[in-house]
Symmetry: C2
Subunit: 196 residues, 2 copies
């Protein structure tokens, strides 16, 4: 079949977005290219018209996931001026986020495997984390003097908290981890005094 000029680009983008979701949900090794293409109504052979190999897809899919997080941060920044930080905590440490890894932040899903990945993928993560840090720092700016440091501490804490909340199979413990994390990490930001 021959298609319009943008058709191949669209397919390329669809593969990336489907993969981005699937990787977060099932892990990188948990997603086979054959199954992935089938999800899109295509066959596995066509994959190599779009990417030289699986690793290239992984880097593009991770880039895409970080991009989504960046957009989310911008969205929060523009819609909740003055209470960005607490909104980020609310959303990041929500049951909704915990229960839908495929739609959420890539860090709790895949960061734990990063030190075992080839360098191009780690590179994408490194840049993604730096960008995350910068954007968070911007939102915290003015509230503290060391917003860059606060940003990376907050990101670390949120990632760990969501990771543990997902890991346990006891729903009550999981809920508690989210609740306690939300409570303590807002203290970390000095938000406690603002709220009370």
């Amino acid at each position: 079949m021959r298609y319009s000029k943008e058709h191949k680009q669209q397919t390329h983008q669809r593969v990336i977005e489907t993969a981005s979701h699937a990787f977060r949900e099932k892990g990188i090794d948990g997603v086979g290219l054959s199954n992935l293409m089938k999800q899109l109504g295509l066959t596995h052979g066509g994959f190599y018209d779009h990417f030289p190999n699986k690793e290239a897809l992984v880097t593009e899919a991770c880039t895409c996931a970080f991009e989504k997080s960046s957009e989310w941060l911008e969205h929060v920044a523009s819609h909740y001026p003055g209470e960005e930080a607490i909104k980020i905590l609310d959303s990041y440490l929500s049951q909704q986020h915990r229960d839908n890894p495929g739609d959420g932040c890539i860090l709790p899903s895949l960061a734990g495997d990063m030190f075992r990945q080839p360098d191009p993928v780690r590179q994408v993560f490194t840049e993604g984390i730096k960008r995350y840090q910068n954007q968070l720092a911007q939102l915290l700016e003015g509230k503290t003097e060391d917003s860059q440091e606060q940003a990376i501490a907050l990101l670390s804490a949120m990632v760990g908290c969501l990771t543990l909340a997902r890991a346990v199979n006891d729903p009550m413990l999981s809920d508690e981890i989210l609740k306690v994390g939300h409570n303590y990490f807002s203290k970390l930001l000095g938000l406690e005094s603002r709220q009370s």
Copy 2:
């Protein structure tokens, strides 16, 4: 070959301990049973004299890793009375720990994959995390009223911090993540005022 009575038990234990290290270093899917047995000077066929399947090894190896963490906490508790919390942070967020995942805490290595694992493995993690929380809480007891909550918040934060420090391939950023995490999370514990 026929051996002394304890010989099989010893082999069983050696498999578990080698696997426990290998899983943390290479991930569960990254460790093949054939290679694992070869590391021990055995052949892959013998594996099934010790375990019904790989999943059983995974649960035993994870249990073993949590046990090691528990011993480490006890060690800190008995050797640094009065400054347990800061010693835990020092050690957990150290370059040594970051650079040796195989010998370290299982959580930054494998917790991110747990929500994709079968239930028996998640069960081991759930119990391990509860035990971690209780032991940490005991060390914090007296310093705060809500030591259970503080314990799980601290654990979350440390796990996330080490995970990100390992994920990035920029050594300076990685060091900074550790340093900033150490700084901020000791604030979270109210240790800052104690030290200054």
